[in-house]
């Protein structure tokens, strides 16, 4: 048994033994946890990953005449300013208000540029009051002339996080990066055995007031992060999926641009790569054993991001040794893996923190309150207006056609029923293609007579049990006007069109009085 005070004394005397979490795995394997607890004082961890729930409070100082800012833009990115007169909060994922720039330059990039010491354009407006008469302002600020620039991240450092795969037949763009179709790749984000909260899985040492490495400066854990979850299933003592989180605070004026980066996940949004390292005091042999966790012992579930639902199906259970090897095997096929967080930087951070402690520049702090280790699980947000499913929508009676039908007949049928799309099916009502009035016009112009020569064979479909909102997004994405509805046993059940959906929305809005 050791105390943090004793460890700090050893740090001051230059006698503390500090190792990284990667080194600790080896040490405990060789000497056992009891011996390691005697020998080792501090284990350093590290991670450098995309953490969307990040941002910063900035205080600009007062102008003359003064302004009570109600709208502020930093390099074109809106910051929240419903806080007194000259305070604002810039969030990492807010996109630029300039449409051509959008997610390519967001709040995360503003934060990086501030830390780099660059000048940032500040545009602000207000309604004007007796004491704050100024209503508009345009100037430049930088890290040196801001009164305060405090990074405050509501949810960082997920304890573990599911890896992503895509079982659909089109590429999707997610916060887990680009996911190739038909399980073309896997992306994962945790630093595994180096990751801070996986080395203290029951929060025996980390809590409010724990001093940490944050983006190259000293920072603090100020409590559990939002969505902190203690009720996730565990294997080998660590959660198998996203669980504990941290709320962090640090002074941007002290930060080093090497350990923070604004980035953009294509077609998703901007995000902040945060460099973070937590020292874990080895107070007893149980803590020593926990910090010895290896990549191999940390389970990571690979989930299907092709399902745009809250709970995604698990495709496979893997571990970080496998994931980091470059490929995993699923159903006999080698699938390449991509980390999304930088393991190189994570190691660098663990080593940097180790050298800070070795040099006596960084003492450990005693947390005033440890993080909750039980009884905390986030609730989902229920939408009061129930989502309507595809099979609940009233659609026109199903009319289909078969591939050998004559184009003239098909045209007549479309006009008679005033429809623009006709699914082409075989004798079992299985979908073969789709034909639209445009295809028919095209066929007539080119002198084609058989349907199978003009129908579109690659069809975007809707499943019966999908929410209509998901279909609306699909219609938008593929720039189409209607999709066949397909049942569980792959039969065509009807058509859903953009018109059906807008009719539904109108009715819904009328009812809600929007």
């Amino acid at each position: 048994m050791k105390t943090i005070e004793e460890i700090n004394q050893r740090i001051k005397d230059g006698d503390a033994v500090v190792v990284t979490a990667a080194e600790m795995t080896q040490i405990v394997k060789e000497n056992g946890a009891d011996k390691a607890a005697e020998d080792i004082d501090v284990v350093t961890t590290g991670t450098f990953g995309a953490m969307c729930s990040s941002g910063a409070f900035l205080n600009f100082g007062h102008t003359d005449p003064p302004i009570k800012m109600t709208k502020t833009y930093l390099n074109g990115v809106e910051a929240y300013s419903g806080l007194a007169a000259v305070d604002t909060y810039i969030g990492a994922t807010q996109p630029s208000r300039i449409p051509e720039i959008g997610i390519d330059y967001g709040g995360a990039h503003v934060i990086e540029d501030l830390i780099r010491g660059k000048d940032i354009e500040l545009v602000a407006s207000s309604y004007g009051t007796d004491c704050y008469p100024l209503t508009d302002l345009k100037t430049h600020v930088n890290i040196d002339n801001l009164n305060e620039a405090i990074m405050l991240n509501p949810r960082n450092c997920y304890q573990n996080y599911a890896a992503a795969i895509n079982t659909t037949d089109e590429t999707i763009y997610t916060y887990m990066g680009t996911l190739l179709p038909n399980m073309g790749n896997v992306s994962f984000s945790s630093a595994g055995g180096l990751s801070p909260l996986l080395n203290d899985p029951y929060f025996q040492t980390i809590g409010m007031g724990t001093k940490i490495f944050l983006c190259g400066a000293e920072g603090y854990v100020i409590g559990e992060g939002t969505q902190h979850n203690t009720e996730v299933q565990r294997k080998n003592g660590v959660p198998v999926n996203g669980a504990g989180t941290l709320m962090l605070k640090g002074d941007m004026k002290q930060m080093d641009p090497d350990y923070v980066r604004g980035a953009t996940m294509p077609k998703y949004g901007s995000t902040l790569y945060v460099g973070l390292g937590i020292p874990i005091p080895v107070l007893n042999s149980d803590i020593a054993q926990r910090t010895a966790i290896s990549d191999e012992d940390i389970v990571c579930q690979i989930m299907d991001y092709g399902t745009p639902k809250r709970s995604k199906p698990i495709v496979m259970e893997s571990n970080y040794k496998q994931l980091r090897s470059g490929s995993v095997e699923i159903n006999g096929v080698e699938i390449e893996t991509s980390p999304l967080s930088s393991y190189k930087k994570a190691l660098e951070i663990a080593l940097e923190l180790k050298s800070w402690i070795n040099n006596g520049d960084f003492l450990l702090s005693n947390p005033v309150k440890l993080l909750k280790s039980e009884g905390s699980s986030p609730r989902p947000l229920e939408i009061r207006r129930q989502t309507v499913l595809v099979n609940e929508i009233k659609s026109k009676p199903l009319i289909t056609t078969s591939p050998n039908d004559d184009i003239g007949d098909v045209a007549k049928r479309m006009v008679l029923n005033s429809i623009n799309h006709l699914p082409v099916v075989d004798a079992d009502q299985k979908l073969l293609g789709i034909v639209t009035s445009w295809d028919i016009a095209n066929a007539v112009a080119k002198g084609k007579t058989l349907l199978k020569d003009v129908m579109t064979k690659r069809v975007v479909i809707a499943r019966e049990d999908e929410p209509v909102d998901v279909i609306a997004r699909r219609i938008d994405k593929h720039e189409i006007s209607g999709l066949p509805i397909i049942s569980k046993n792959n039969r065509v059940m009807g058509m859903i069109t953009a018109e059906d959906i807008s009719r539904l929305m109108c009715a819904r809005n009328l009812k809600d009085g929007v």
Binding site: F48, T178, L180, N185, R261, P266, G326, T337, P339, S341
Partner: protein, 128 residues
């Protein structure tokens, strides 16, 4: 060297490539191909002691050959070695080194630009 070969419709059925490999000391790799009865194009890599002569032969046979002077470049200041690009590359031109640095191999690259598009820090560029 790498080059695009453009076939006119009448060339498609001729055995130029077979003859090339039979008659010259070259090794020949097809990196990408898009050929149909109406002609098409093919991205090849050709090397070996008689590569120059082989190229002459291809051109004489009436195939339009345009060398590719494209380089894929990773800006090391921008790159954070996250590895997001690694699993996207269709030809395994991107790899993770022993020290966890992400490395892009220009020789293997076929210029699909998937990595360029997906890199969160826009660190990879393909320059023609």
């Amino acid at each position: 060297m790498k080059a695009w070969l453009k076939f006119s419709p009448k060339m498609v059925n001729q055995a130029v490539i077979t003859d090339l490999i039979k008659n010259y000391d070259v090794s020949f790799n097809i990196l990408r191909a898009d050929i149909n009865p109406k002609g098409g194009k093919m991205l090849i890599e050709i090397s070996g002691s008689e590569a120059e002569k082989g190229i002459e032969y291809i051109e004489k046979a009436g195939i339009d050959l345009s060398p590719v002077n494209r380089v894929v470049k990773k800006d090391t200041d921008l790159c954070i070695d996250c590895g997001a690009c690694v699993s996207l590359c269709p030809v395994k031109a991107i790899s993770v080194e022993k020290d966890w640095t992400v490395d892009v191999n220009d020789k293997e690259c076929v210029g699909c630009k998937l990595c360029t598009y997906s890199c969160p820090t826009k660190a990879i560029k393909v320059v023609e």
